[in-house]
Symmetry: C2
Subunit: 134 residues, 2 copies
């Protein structure tokens, strides 16, 4: 990121009729915002919860972000990741990049990978095992 740019992160949850998915995604968004005060972080949901992805995108209006990274807070890939969410975000199906109008100017959206496999997740699962032993 250029020093003159301001990053927005859109954490996208699946959404659920139960409260847990929303709680986790909102809490993750809040934690990112606390850790990175220079970043504007929003959460939005693909289905069943609000704000919707579209509403969350629009809520970057007025925040001054110059670029948005949309990250699906999903464990693994699947049709929601490869098709549904890119469609909602209006991304190019090939490049998975797009543009959105905010405050009358166009800013770019990039699309992140889902959580997937990562050392951080391995550490978290190990921690959950150790907590259960206590």
């Amino acid at each position: 990121m250029d020093e003159n740019e301001k990053l927005g992160i859109l954490a996208i949850g699946h959404g659920s009729k139960l409260p847990y998915n929303k709680e986790v995604v909102i809490d993750i968004a809040n934690r990112i915002a606390e850790r990175h005060e220079d970043v504007v972080v929003k959460a939005g949901f693909m289905e069943k919860n609000e704000p919707t992805v579209e509403e969350a995108l629009q809520s970057f209006e007025g925040t001054g972000v110059s670029k948005i990274a949309a990250v699906p807070v999903f464990l693994a890939s699947g049709v929601h990741i490869t098709q549904d969410i890119p469609e909602i975000l209006g991304l190019d199906p090939e490049t998975k990049k797009g543009r959105i109008k905010l405050n009358g100017s166009e800013i770019s959206i990039v699309y992140g990978n889902p959580l997937g496999s990562d050392e951080l997740l391995a550490e978290l699962v190990y921690n959950r095992a150790c907590e259960a032993l206590d």
Copy 2:
């Protein structure tokens, strides 16, 4: 854990007709095993993939584990976490603890929380956003 005990971790995935969930859960299990050589790590799936949770549990036979922590590799809670998986594991519905026969002796199973909200997940989502900007 007592020094004489040997821990087994069972990473439980939802399972999917697509390969991604299985790949992520297996890879997380492998990463834990690499990081913690004293722990026996297995992966098992609730549905659609093998090994099943039951098969994975039985595969601890002969490994010498004295306790198993079963951890659902799910983002958030829900009926699979609170009911389906505890039933498959034969856990007490209240305490979420159980016992299993391996090598003719009974060892205890404890049940971990799903990933849920955690600083490690917030860090991972932030990393996914930064990767997308590159």
